[in-house]
Structures are given as structure tokens and as C-alpha cells.
């Protein structure tokens, strides 16, 4: 097991390297160097010494790989992500809380997706081709077909139209800029349900289908008959064997559900005005605030990669066959 984890972590290195290069590419993509646009945007003239200092700091006169090295080594050794020109603050000041909230929403959604999809998937497989199964299947398909942001808009409209309340945001107005306290946490929890449901719908629909298909495969396996022939009751049998085996692919589904959640939360957060990375990324891209945008893409990617790693390790722990490969 330790060897398996070690190997997975070693595999992580090239992945992280490539991700950082992609993020750097995003920073470099807009035409012209950002200093030029900074100078053109600045309201007062920036003195030459300051410009030269920035030029030196980001290595703008040097070849691209030197620039990349300066950027990435700053992040790894000093936690220095560069400055946001729009906010005129270091990027690292802006992102951590938002990254934390993104994480919280994603994890809550993940829990929601699992808690809802596993029992429904089991029901749908055990009651194959009954009306209940068809209803679940059709709802599942519709859940997959509605884009997150559309669902968000519709739910917001319904809340606004019929309940007369505006449901956006993660905090009540009083708590938006308040320091962390128990009350603020409770306030956050009371706002979480809507984004969790919206984000979770597609994932739930997908996992119900995965669970149903896996369980149907397992239900017809010989080891199920063998256990039945031993005298095990149907319910115990179901949960001890086929459900247990069918859960494994579901754990490996984490590897793609988690990135999808983080990814989907970007747009939903913009629509619902949540204080996560999504809206910040959106704004920074529109303002061509590239160090902020690149850092966000880098960190969100690292987050999902770590999520994938965790799901792989979890799977290896659950399924003894994996470690052998």
C-alpha cells in the first residue's frame, strides 16, 4: 500500500509540471506584455524605476523559460503568485479564502451526490424495468441534460417569483466581510444548500447511472448465487457482496466527478454570485489580470489533481486487486 501511494505521488510530479505550464501559458496568451497594458491603464504615470523593478521581478526581458522559472520558483519556494494589477495586491492575499470556499462547496456537493445517488442507483438496479426504475432513469437523463447555470437561473427565478427572496451568495450581507466565527460558519451552511443541489444534479444523475449499471453487472455474477446458496438473506446478500463490489467503480468515478464539480462550480458561482474562485477568475480574465487568472487556474487544477489522487488511493484501499497491478 505504501509503495502504491509512493508511486502515485511520483506520477503526480509530471502532471503538476504540465498543469503549471498550462497556467503559465494562459498568463502569456494575451498579446503584448502586461506591463504595457498596466501602464496604459494606470491613471497616474508610473515612474520608470517602478516599471524597471517589475520588469526585473518577472524577468520580462529574458527568454520565456526564465520567466516561467521565476514564476514557478516564486510560487513553490515563497508562495509568491505575483501581483494582481486590478486589485493592486499580491495574488496570494486574494485567493486562499475563495479557494477554501470552493473546496467546501465541492466537498459538500460530493457528499450530497453520493448520499443521493447510491441508494437510488441500488433501487433502480434491484427493481430493474419497473416504473420506479424508468422514472429514475428519465429524471437522471434530464438532470444530465440541464446545464448547471440554467438550473441556477431557473431556481433563482422561482425563488424570486414565488418566494420573493433573492437566493444568491454564500453569506448574508452582514457576514460577507466579517471575520470567521461560529455564526459566520452557520450562516454559510444555511446558504450552501442551493449551490449544492444545483452543482450536484448532474453528478447525481451520472452516478445513479454508473451505480445502476455496475450493480446490474454484479447482480448476475456467480459469487452472488454462491452466497445465496449459502443461505444468506437477500438484503444482507445485496449489501455485503454486489453493492460492495459495485461501489468500487463509483470511487474511481470520483476521479472525474470531482474535477467536473470544481469545473461546473465556476459558472454556477458566477450566476449565484458565490465567493468562490469562479467569479474571481471570470473577472480577472475580463480585466486581463493575468497573474491572478493564471494562479487561479493553477490552484484549481492542483486541487482537482489532489482530489483524483485521493480517490485513487481510496480505491486501492477498498479494492485489494488494484495494488497488485
Amino acid at each position: 500500500m505504501i509503495w502504491y501511494i509512493a508511486r502515485r505521488i511520483v506520477y503526480l510530479i509530471p502532471t503538476l509540471l504540465i498543469v503549471s505550464m498550462i497556467a503559465f501559458l494562459v498568463i502569456q496568451l494575451p498579446p503584448g506584455d502586461f506591463l504595457a497594458s498596466l501602464i496604459s491603464k494606470a491613471e497616474e504615470t508610473i515612474d520608470q524605476a517602478q516599471v524597471d523593478a517589475l520588469r526585473e521581478r518577472y524577468g520580462l526581458d529574458e527568454p520565456i523559460y526564465v520567466q516561467y522559472w521565476k514564476w514557478i520558483s516564486g510560487i513553490v519556494t515563497r508562495g509568491d503568485f505575483g501581483d494582481s494589477f486590478e486589485w493592486n495586491r499580491p495574488v496570494s492575499d486574494l485567493i486562499w479564502e475563495r479557494l477554501g470556499l470552493t473546496m467546501v462547496i465541492s466537498l459538500f456537493t460530493l457528499a450530497f451526490v453520493w448520499i443521493v445517488s447510491i441508494p437510488i442507483g441500488i433501487y433502480s438496479a434491484v427493481k430493474k424495468y419497473t416504473i420506479g426504475d424508468y422514472v429514475v432513469t428519465v429524471i437522471g437523463f434530464i438532470g444530465l441534460a440541464i446545464p448547471n447555470f440554467l438550473l441556477a437561473l431557473v431556481l433563482m427565478y422561482i425563488a424570486f417569483r414565488y418566494f420573493g427572496q433573492s437566493v444568491g451568495g454564500l453569506f448574508s450581507p452582514d457576514y460577507i466581510d466579517a471575520p470567521w466565527s461560529l455564526d459566520r460558519v452557520l450562516d454559510l451552511l444555511s446558504h450552501l444548500w442551493l449551490p449544492v443541489i444545483i452543482l450536484g444534479t448532474a453528478g447525481t444523475a451520472a452516478l445513479i447511472r454508473v451505480m445502476r449499471a455496475n450493480l446490474l453487472d454484479e447482480l448476475s455474477k456467480l459469487y452472488v448465487d454462491a452466497a445465496r446458496a449459502r443461505g444468506l438473506s437477500e438484503l444482507k446478500l445485496l449489501f455485503k457482496y454486489p453493492v460492495r463490489v459495485a461501489l468500487n467503480p463509483l470511487v474511481s468515478a470520483l476521479a472525474w466527478v470531482f474535477p467536473a464539480l470544481v469545473s461546473g462550480s465556476a459558472i454556477t458561482s458566477i450566476v449565484l454570485n458565490l465567493q468562490t474562485t469562479g467569479p474571481l477568475l471570470y473577472r480577472s480574465l475580463q480585466a486581463q489580470d493575468m497573474y491572478l487568472a493564471g494562479s487561479l487556474i493553477l490552484l484549481v487544477s492542483v486541487l482537482t489533481i489532489i482530489g483524483t489522487l485521493v480517490s485513487d488511493i481510496l480505491l486501492a484501499w477498498l479494492d485489494p486487486r488494484i495494488q497488485l497491478q
Binding site: 502532471t15 494562459v26 433563482m156 433573492s166 469545473s263
Partner: protein, 383 residues
Amino acid sequence: MTGQPIQSPDDAQFEPSAAERRVVVANQWQLIWWKFRKHRLAMLAGLVTLFLYAVALLAEFFAPYSSGTYSAAHTHMPPPQIHLFQHADAGPRFYPHVKGFKVQVDPDSYKRTYVVDETVAYPIGLFVRGEEYELWGLFTLDLHLIGAAEYGDPVYLLGTDRLGRDVLSRTIYGTRVSMSVGLVGVGLSLLLGVILGGISGYYGGLIDNLIQRAIEILRSLPTIPLWMGLSAAIPLTWPPVRVYFAITVLLSLIGWTALAREVRGRFLSLKTEDFVIAARLDGVRELQIILRHMAPSMTSHIIASVTLAIPGMILAETALSFLGIGLRPPVVSWGVLLQEAQNVRSIATAPWLLFPGIAVVTAVLAMNFLGDGLRDAADPYQA
């Protein structure tokens, strides 16, 4: 499956029945079709998909107006109720029409609201004469599937947007871009997926390992932030057509991995099939083996995967355009149209602006069901 079963004379009584013989000599595609036909929901979804592509091809004909036609006097007009009969003295008579609207201005807030004007009725009809258009740059026509029976009447079946443009017409025009982004994007993905997946599955070893790693990396990335970052870099000065292609290239650059996995998996399992080994032992060249022996049994699976990949592309384009970093006006796609409905306030004033969303959901649902049915039918020899 093309050869007749060998029969000895005394086997006469084992002669397969007519139905059985039909199955024995049917080729793969006939079998797939028969199996697919049994799947009613997938058949329906297939028809809906065909219809959507027909709409995309003939948008000018299906839409009552052109995508840019606007009427400053009719902004944010709600969809009218359609009446099929008119009550005359001699009883109701068939006269499909919509009632007109009057504008009322609230004296306190100066808010404009539309009120139904019972005194005005605008007849509507099918195959009506309206605005002139050029179909595919070839024919000049003025025939529209549906619209005001009298050219010029303000009939907007699904309401209008903030500039007074017909939502129905724009949604129909949006079909063209949204449905084709999916096709073109998947086409590019397919090219990448088949080439890389094929190489990976056929040669195996180090190359396979490298490509698999690359796929894993791509799959572990959060696609939407990445798409946002990359598409934000598309210069605002680019012409719409170039933006369109840039977006589809971006979508397929990240979207090819699922197809590549599918192809690789098929290759791996086919490689060890007896008929492939037999071909190799017979000294058939590699390329021949791939093209003549392996490709035909993969095609059906690939078609199914492609169908299942298109909805993802449609959703991605819609999301990006919705945010304003994908396609941009004057291009009309469902995502661009939904931009009009970006916040609760605009939806509260004009909920009908969400109609393109229904089009998105319909298209995605139809293609998912279709793809599902195709995947089930792709292996006709399996029970």
C-alpha cells in the same frame, strides 16, 4: 456472416426458417438497425435530432424573421396566447390568430407593461410569405414555415428580447451554430482521439503509457476554468468565423480524451480476437489489418461514442458563450442568446428569454438518448 451455412442433404429438416435465414445473411449494419429499431425512446430521440439538424440547415425557412430583425416599438414583449378559433355570430370558426398588445405605463414607476388588446387579432398561419432571404446563398425565397399571415403584423410567438428581436427566430438561428459547434468539435476530437487512441491501443508499450498519462492529466483538469482562460485569450478583434473555429478547436483539444479511451479499449480487445490474429498470421500488412479487419467492427462503437460526445460540446459552448467569453454577438447561438438572461432581474422581467435553454436541454437529451440506443445496438451479435 456472409457465407451460407454448409448443409448436407440429410440436414434438410434442419433448414433454418425464413426468419432465421434473414438473420443469418444480414450484414452488421442491418442487424444494428434492427436492434436499434426496438429501442423506442432512442428512435424518437433520433427523429428529434434529425429535426434539429433540419432546422439548423433550413433556419431561414423555419424562422418567421431573420436573426437581426428588430422592432424598437416591441421590446420585451411577452409571448402571446395562440387562439385557434374566432367566435363569430355563426359560431366559432377556424381562424388561428394572436391578440395584439397595448403598452401601459405605470404612472408611478414609469414601468412599461404589455396588456392584451382584445380588439386586435393578427392571423397567423403555416407556409406564409414574409421577409425575403437567400437559402444557402443560392435561392431567394420569402416562404416561412410559420408566422404572421399578413406580412408586417407584429407577431412574436415566443416574445421579443430587449431590442425587440423575435426570440423564436433567434433560437432557430441559434440551432445552426450550437448544433454545428458540437459536430465540428466532435469531428476534431474524433480525429485526435482515433489517431492517438489507435496508436496507443495498437502499439502499446511506452507510447501507450505516455498517451495514457497525457489523457489522465487532461481528464484531471477542471475543464471550464481552463476553457475560460484559453478562450479569454481570443482577441476581440477576430472576425466571428475565426472565433467560432477557435472555440471549437479549444473544446476539442480538451474533449478528445474520452473518445481516445474508447478507441484504445476497442483496439486492445480486438487485437487479441482470433480473426485479427488469423489475419496477421496470414501475413496481412498492419495497415490492412487495421483498415480491413479492425475498423469495421469499431465503427459502430465510435458512432455511438461520438453521439454521446456531442451534447458535452453543446453544453460547453453554451456555458462559455453565456459567460461572454465564447461566441459573441452578432453570432447567434443558444449560449449567446442566454446571455440576455444572465441575472434574476432580466429573467423576472422577461422569463421567455430562457426559451433557448429549453432548446439546449432538448438537444442534449435527444442526443444522449440516441447515443445510448446506438451504444446498445452497436454490438448486434451480443444478446
